[in-house]
């Protein structure tokens, strides 16, 4: 008899730092490219096809009574391996339902704060991909920022809170994941906001996200003040919420900074990126809490499972903010960049409405890690 664990149960373990052993049975190339990570997670790899003649290769390394969670690409091979292990006397084996495909789509909501004017701010952590999105809830309204493709998750969350999503905002045209922003606005009858400089050639209607034009959420005003902060994309715009939270999009992360090359404009935009990071943000209060659109390393998760950091602290310890020499900075963000995200150009075309791939294709396009950052 086989037992399963859901992506939600596994996500709680990562966030709560519960000791967990994962046996990933995908082939090693895929495992090396992208795997489940966490402070408390130990993960080993043995492709399922090496276990068809017997589970010997893993039996040597594991105790028969220890808890093991078997993971594969879609959830079928892991079930088979869990059953094979059960037949060999392993008593505590689970398979992850839906495999890495489901893990890639799981969003774990974490409450960040109660806002001054009433209402709350939530961060949605996509543990399988490192994407962060946000929901502001105030009175009976909500606004979602940098929504992922799985819009049903935000809609369900809003329904549970008894609020309607009035605004859906993208801080920039994303290249590493397919935005759910437009779809979410369509589904909820809300307005979709996108910086106009990133909207050149888009095939849909949008409300331009502009510096100085506040967006009000709820009857108690939560001020959302867009700050034009080019660099990652030409139109990248940061948001300040409640004078306390700085949503940086892909410009500034906790341990790294945004890469300027995903629209093929590294040389052109490196100056903008530098100006944003070394001048514009520097003029803001050190006490702002930076809330980025991504994280790269699982160590960036704080104790409550959220990803955040004080702006002043980042000026002390984020390696991307320590490069005083302009030429050195230019070199860092234009040379030695990590590989570009899977299908990033097609993802941009999709986010511009120029491509409309089927659901399954969209899923495939997003598989793999996000690579939006430059690590200094």
């Amino acid at each position: 008899m086989s037992q399963s664990i859901t992506t939600g149960q596994l996500a709680r373990r990562v966030v709560n730092r519960e000791k967990t052993l994962i046996l990933d049975v995908r082939n090693t190339d895929e495992f090396d490219d992208w795997k489940i990570e966490g402070d408390s997670i130990e993960v080993m790899n043995e492709p399922y096809f090496n276990l068809l003649d017997g589970v010997g290769p893993v039996a040597e390394k594991l105790n028969k009574d220890q808890e093991i969670i078997v993971v594969c690409a879609k959830g079928n091979s892991s079930k088979m391996v869990a059953e094979l292990m059960g037949e060999e006397g392993f008593t505590n084996v689970y398979d992850l339902e839906g495999g890495m495909k489901a893990w890639s789509e799981h969003l774990e909501p974490v409450k960040l704060a109660d806002l001054d004017g009433g209402g709350s701010l939530y961060q949605f952590v996509r543990l399988g991909k490192g994407c962060l999105s946000y929901m502001i809830v105030s009175e009976n309204e909500a606004s979602v920022i940098d929504a992922n493709r799985m819009t049903d998750i935000y809609e369900k969350f809003a329904e549970e809170k008894g609020v309607t999503v009035k605004h859906s905002i993208d801080t920039h045209l994303h290249a590493d994941h397919i935005s759910g922003g437009r779809q979410l606005a369509d589904n909820t009858g809300g307005t979709y906001h996108l910086p106009s400089k990133d909207a050149e050639g888009v095939t849909f209607n949008y409300a331009p996200l502009e510096e100085g034009s506040n967006i009000t959420v709820g009857s108690t005003t939560v001020k959302v003040q867009p700050i034009y902060s080019p660099g990652h994309t030409m139109g990248s715009t940061s948001l300040i919420i409640d004078d306390q939270y700085l949503l940086t999009g892909d410009i500034l992360f906790v341990k790294s900074i945004g890469r300027p090359d995903l629209a093929g404009k590294a040389e052109d935009w490196v100056g903008d990126l530098r100006d944003t990071l070394y001048n514009r943000y520097k003029k803001l209060s050190d006490d702002l809490v930076v809330l980025p659109a991504h994280y790269s390393f699982v160590e960036e998760l704080t104790d409550d499972g959220s990803v955040k950091a004080r702006l002043g602290d980042l000026y002390q310890r984020n390696s991307g903010l320590q490069v005083d020499d302009e030429n050195e900075f230019r070199k860092m963000v234009t040379e030695n960049l990590p590989p570009q995200p899977n299908e990033y150009e097609n993802i941009r075309q999709t986010n511009m409405g120029k491509m409309n791939p089927e659901d399954e294709k969209q899923r495939e396009m997003e598989i793999g890690p996000n690579r939006c950052a430059v690590h200094g």
Partner: protein, 75 residues
């Protein structure tokens, strides 16, 4: 390419294409070629990795009308 055996694994989801391929390879002689037809996209990387781990040679692969075709020479 002259195949000793053709395996139809179309419509099968992971892990079945590899499970069936393994069985079919057991039924042919060393040096013979097995031709596999599959539709599961994951078969592409999995069959290549499986063949490599077993010492078999993936001679050729092709895609025709959404059908992935592989020619594997048994070690």
């Amino acid at each position: 390419m002259e195949a000793a055996k053709v395996l139809d694994a179309k419509g099968m989801a992971c892990p079945m294409p590899v499970v069936k391929t393994k069985k079919a390879i057991d039924e042919i002689e060393s040096g013979d070629i097995l031709e596999v037809h599959a539709t599961d996209k994951g078969a592409k990387s999995d069959l290549a990795a499986w063949a490599k781990s077993g010492g078999h040679e993936l001679m050729e692969e092709a895609e025709e009308d959404d059908v992935l075709k592989f020619w594997i020479k048994k070690a």
